[in-house]
C-alpha cells in the first residue's frame, strides 16, 4: 500500500514538473513575460529555472514532449537579449540542447536547433560556445533529414552561427555543410530556399577562400533559376549571395559574369521595387569596381539604363546613394565607360542629388565622388555642356578642365562649343587669377581666335556701343 502511495507521489511530481515546464514555455514566448519572470525573482532564480530545465533536458525522460517543451522555453528565452542567452549558456543549457539534437524525434531536434540558433544569433562569443559544444556536425546531419521544418531550422541556425567571424564560418564549412546546402537549392520549398541562400551568404561573406569554396560547389547556374522564384525574399537572398561572392576578387566576379549573372540581376532589378533592390545595385557596383573589362561587361548587359531607372524611381536616400556609388564605379575607368554613363543622362541627375539640400550627407558625399571620378574621364562634350550651367564651382572646375583637354584637338567640337553657347558661358565664369579654373579658362580661350573670344565676353555689346559714341563719320 505504502509502495503504491510512494509511486503515486512520484508520478504526481513528474506531472507537476511537466506542467510547470509547459506553462513556462508558453509564458516565455512573449518578451513582457520574461521581464515579469525576472522581476518575480532575481536573475539567480531564473538561472535556477534554467538549470532545472537543463537538467530536465539532460535526464532521460521517456516523454519526448517534455524535452520539446524545455527546448521551446530555452528558445523563447534566448531570443530576447544576449544577457539571457549568456545565462542559458552558463547553466549548461547548450550542452543539453546538443544532446537533444541527437534524439530521434524531429520535433525535439527542431526545437533544440531553433534554441541554438537564437543563442548563436546575438554575438560571436555565444556562437563560439555553441560551436564548442559540438553542435555543428549534428546540425549538418539534421540538414539531411526528410522533414522540411527541421531542414529550415538547421539551415537558419547554421547561417546564424557562421555570420559572426571567419573562424566560425570555417568551422561550419569544415563539416561539409556547403555540399548539403548546395543540394537543397533546388528544393521546391520557399522558406527552405530562403534559409539556404542566407546561410551560403553568411559563409561566403568573410573571405576569399570561403567564397571560392561556395563557388566550387557549383551552385551558380542553378541559383539563377531561383532568381525567378515568385517569393521576393528568395530572390533577395540569391542576389545578396551573389553580392558577397563578387565582392572579393575579380576572378570570382568573372565566374558570375560568365554564367550570365549580370543579366539575371538586371532583370531582377527591373521586376522588384523598394529596399530589396539594394543588394542588386551593390552587386553591379562591386563587379564594375574590379576592372574595366568587368565594368564594360556591366555596360554591355544594359546595366546603366536600369540603374538610371532605379535612381529615378526610388525615393530612399540610402538606395540612391548605393546607385550613385555603383554608377561611379562603372564610369570611372576609361572615356568609353564615362560616355556610356553620360549618354544615359545620369550626370545631371547626380548633380541634382548633390545640390539638393535635403539629401543626406552620405548621399551628397557619394554623389560628389561619383561626379568627380566620372567627369575626369568624360570626353563626350555634348553631355558636359548642361553641367556648365548648373554646377557649383568645385564641380565646374572639373568640367572646364575636361573642355580644356578636348577642345584643342577637335575642330568640330570647337564649332559646336561656340554655337551652343558654351563659350559664352565660359566667359561668364568668374575665377580667381592663378587658380586652376582660370588656367583652364585661359587654355580654352587659347583655342579660339581673339575676336570670337572678345565677341562672347560679357559686356561686349556695351563696349561696341561706347565705340559708337566716339566715332566720327568721315
Amino acid at each position: 500500500m505504502s509502495q503504491r502511495h510512494v509511486v503515486q507521489v512520484f508520478e504526481q511530481y513528474q506531472k507537476a514538473r511537466m506542467q510547470f515546464v509547459q506553462t513556462v514555455a508558453d509564458l516565455a514566448n512573449r518578451p513582457q513575460n520574461i521581464e515579469l519572470l525576472q522581476n518575480a525573482g532575481k536573475t539567480a532564480d531564473i538561472c535556477f529555472l534554467y538549470s532545472l530545465l537543463a537538467r530536465v533536458s539532460v535526464y532521460v525522460c521517456v516523454q519526448r514532449f517534455y524535452k520539446k517543451a524545455a527546448a521551446f522555453v530555452l528558445r523563447a528565452v534566448a531570443k530576447h537579449s544576449p544577457e539571457l542567452s549568456q545565462a542559458v549558456v552558463a547553466c549548461r543549457g547548450v550542452d543539453a540542447l546538443v544532446l537533444c539534437l541527437e534524439e530521434f524525434d524531429p520535433g525535439v531536434k527542431e526545437a533544440a536547433a531553433w534554441a541554438l540558433g537564437n543563442i548563436a544569433r546575438h554575438n560571436a562569443a555565444l556562437s563560439q560556445s555553441v560551436v564548442d559544444a559540438g553542435a555543428v556536425p549534428l546540425l549538418v546531419l539534421s540538414l539531411l533529414e526528410p522533414e522540411m521544418a527541421l531542414k529550415r531550422i538547421a539551415a537558419s541556425t547554421l547561417s546564424d552561427i557562421s555570420k559572426h567571424t571567419p573562424e566560425l564560418a570555417q568551422t561550419v564549412v569544415d563539416t561539409g555543410a556547403i555540399a548539403h546546402l548546395a543540394q537543397m537549392i533546388l528544393s521546391p520549398d520557399t522558406k527552405l530556399k530562403r534559409q539556404v541562400f542566407a546561410a551560403l551568404t553568411q559563409i561566403s561573406k568573410h573571405s576569399v577562400s570561403l567564397a571560392e569554396m561556395v563557388i566550387e560547389a557549383e551552385i551558380f547556374p542553378a541559383a539563377m533559376s531561383c532568381l525567378r522564384d515568385p517569393d521576393e525574399y528568395v530572390k533577395k537572398n540569391v542576389v545578396t549571395l551573389m553580392r558577397e561572392v563578387v565582392k572579393h576578387t575579380p576572378e570570382l566576379a568573372q565566374v558570375i559574369v560568365n554564367c550570365g549573372g549580370l543579366e539575371a540581376v538586371i532583370d531582377y532589378l527591373g521586376n522588384c521595387h523598394g529596399n530589396v533592390r539594394l543588394p542588386g545595385i551593390m552587386m553591379l557596383g562591386y563587379v564594375a569596381a574590379h576592372s574595366e573589362s568587368l565594368a564594360m561587361a556591366v555596360i554591355v548587359s544594359k546595366g546603366v539604363p536600369q540603374l538610371a531607372l532605379c535612381l529615378s524611381e526610388e525615393s530612399e536616400d540610402h538606395i540612391k546613394a548605393a546607385t550613385v556609388w555603383s554608377v561611379g564605379q562603372i564610369g570611372h575607368h576609361t572615356p568609353e565607360h564615362a560616355k556610356a554613363v553620360t549618354t544615359a543622362n545620369l550626370l545631371p541627375k547626380i548633380l541634382e542629388l548633390y545640390m539638393n539640400a535635403s539629401s543626406s550627407e552620405d548621399l551628397q558625399t557619394k554623389s560628389k565622388k561619383a561626379l568627380k571620378s566620372v567627369l575626369q574621364k568624360c570626353t563626350y562634350l555634348p553631355s558636359l555642356e548642361p553641367l556648365l550651367y548648373e554646377a557649383p564651382s568645385n564641380i565646374l572646375k572639373h568640367v572646364v578642365c575636361q573642355f580644356s583637354k578636348v577642345l584643342p584637338h577637335d575642330s568640330k567640337a570647337r564649332r559646336l562649343f561656340v554655337t551652343s553657347g558654351g563659350l559664352k558661358k565660359v566667359q561668364e565664369i568668374e575665377a580667381e587669377p592663378g587658380s586652376p579654373l582660370q588656367e583652364y579658362i585661359n587654355a580654352i580661350n587659347g583655342c579660339f581666335p581673339e575676336e570670337i573670344v572678345r565677341y562672347y565676353s560679357p559686356g561686349y555689346s556695351e563696349a561696341l556701343l561706347e565705340r559708337l559714341d566716339d566715332y566720327q563719320p568721315a
Partner: protein, 324 residues
C-alpha cells in the same frame, strides 16, 4: 881638316840653326801649341758631336720604330674594340626589334587582346540573352505548374462542393438553383451536380425501388456529355457507369410513358412544390394511397429520390411493382 872645319862650321851653323830653329820654335811654340790645341779641341768636338749625332739618330730610329710599333698595336686594339662595339650595337638593335615585336605580340594576344575582349563582350551579350530566355522558360514552366496545381485544387474543391450539394440538382419538373430558365445554358455547377449524383443501388435486396427511383438522375447524367476529363470526374463516371440494365421493353424505368403525366395531373401540387413543406412526404403518401386503387404504379420516384427512410411506405407493394 877642311872637312873638319867644314864639319865644325857646319856643326856650328848647325848649332846656330838648331839654336835659331829652337828659338823660332820656342817662339812659335806657344802659338802653335795654342793653335794645335784649338785644332785638336775642335776636332775632338767634331768627333764627339758626330758621335752624339750618330747616337741621336740611332736613338731616334729606335724610338721611332718602337713608337710606331706600340701605336700600331694600340690602333689595332682600338679597331678591334670599335668593331666589337659596332657589332654589339647591331646585335642590340636587332634584339630590340625582336623584343619589341615579341612584346607587342604577347601583350596584344595574351594580356590585352582587343579582339578577344570584343568577342567576349559579344559572347557575353549572347549568353545573357540565352540565360534570360532560359530563365523565362523556366519561370513559365513553374508558373504553369503552379497554375495547374491551383486549377486542380480549385476543381477538387468544386467537385467536393457539388458532392455535398447534390440535392440542388434540377429535376425535370423543377429547375434547380443553378439552372435558371433565363440562362442560355446550364451553369457549370449544374453540370458538376449532374455528374456527381452517382449512387447506384448497392444491393438488390433492400430498396430496389430506391434504385429505380434514384436511377433517373444517373440516366440523366449519362445523357450529358462529360465536360472535364480530369481523373476526379472519372471516378464518378466509373461509379455511375456501372451497368444499368436496359429498360424493359415499352416501359421506362418507372413505368409507362404517360404515367408520370397522369400522376402530375392528379397530384399537381405535390409535383410542383417539392420541398416547400416539410410535411410533403406525408401528404404525398396520403395522396398516393388515395390514388393507389386508380393506378398501380408507384408515383413520385422523383419525389423520393431524396428518400428518407420511408418506413410508412407500402414496401411490399412497391417492391412488387418494381419487379415488373
Amino acid at each position: 881638316m877642311a872637312e873638319l872645319l867644314k864639319i865644325k862650321r857646319e856643326f856650328e851653323e848647325f848649332q846656330k840653326e838648331y839654336y835659331y830653329t829652337n828659338r823660332e820654335a820656342d817662339e812659335n811654340r806657344e802659338k802653335e801649341n795654342q793653335a794645335v790645341t784649338q785644332i785638336q779641341s775642335w776636332f775632338r768636338g767634331c768627333k764627339v758631336r758626330a758621335y752624339l749625332s750618330h747616337l741621336h739618330k740611332k736613338a731616334i730610329i729606335i724610338q721611332k720604330i718602337w713608337r710606331g710599333f706600340t701605336a700600331r698595336a694600340r690602333v689595332r686594339q682600338m679597331v678591334k674594340a670599335a668593331y666589337f662595339i659596332m657589332k654589339m650595337n647591331f646585335y642590340e638593335e636587332m634584339a630590340v626589334r625582336i623584343q619589341r615585336t615579341w612584346r607587342g605580340f604577347f601583350v596584344r594576344k595574351y594580356i590585352h587582346n582587343f579582339y578577344a575582349r570584343k568577342k567576349y563582350m559579344e559572347g557575353l551579350v549572347m549568353k545573357n540573352e540565352l540565360v534570360r530566355r532560359e530563365l523565362d522558360q523556366l519561370e513559365d514552366l513553374q508558373k504553369r505548374e503552379r497554375d495547374c496545381l491551383d486549377m486542380v485544387k480549385e476543381h477538387t474543391a468544386k467537385v467536393y462542393q457539388a458532392h455535398r450539394l447534390h440535392h440542388l440538382l434540377s429535376t425535370k419538373q423543377c429547375p434547380g438553383v443553378f439552372n435558371s430558365p433565363f440562362r442560355p445554358a446550364p451553369h457549370e455547377m449544374e453540370l458538376l451536380l449532374r455528374q456527381q449524383v452517382k449512387y447506384q443501388a448497392p444491393t438488390r435486396l433492400a430498396s430496389r425501388g430506391k434504385a429505380c427511383l434514384l436511377g433517373i438522375p444517373s440516366s440523366t447524367s449519362s445523357s450529358f456529355p462529360v465536360t472535364l476529363g480530369s481523373p476526379l470526374i472519372k471516378t464518378s463516371r466509373t461509379y455511375s457507369s456501372r451497368p444499368i440494365l436496359p429498360p424493359i421493353a415499352n416501359k421506362g424505368l418507372y413505368g409507362e410513358a404517360g404515367e408520370a403525366w397522369e400522376q402530375r395531373l392528379h397530384c399537381r401540387e405535390l409535383m410542383l412544390c417539392l420541398q416547400t413543406s416539410y410535411m410533403h412526404l406525408e401528404e404525398a403518401q396520403n395522396q398516393l394511397r388515395e390514388l393507389e386503387p386508380v393506378r398501380l404504379r408507384g408515383t413520385g420516384s422523383t419525389l423520393h429520390h431524396l428518400s428518407q427512410s420511408s418506413s410508412s411506405f407500402p414496401h411490399p407493394a412497391h417492391t412488387g411493382k418494381s419487379f415488373r
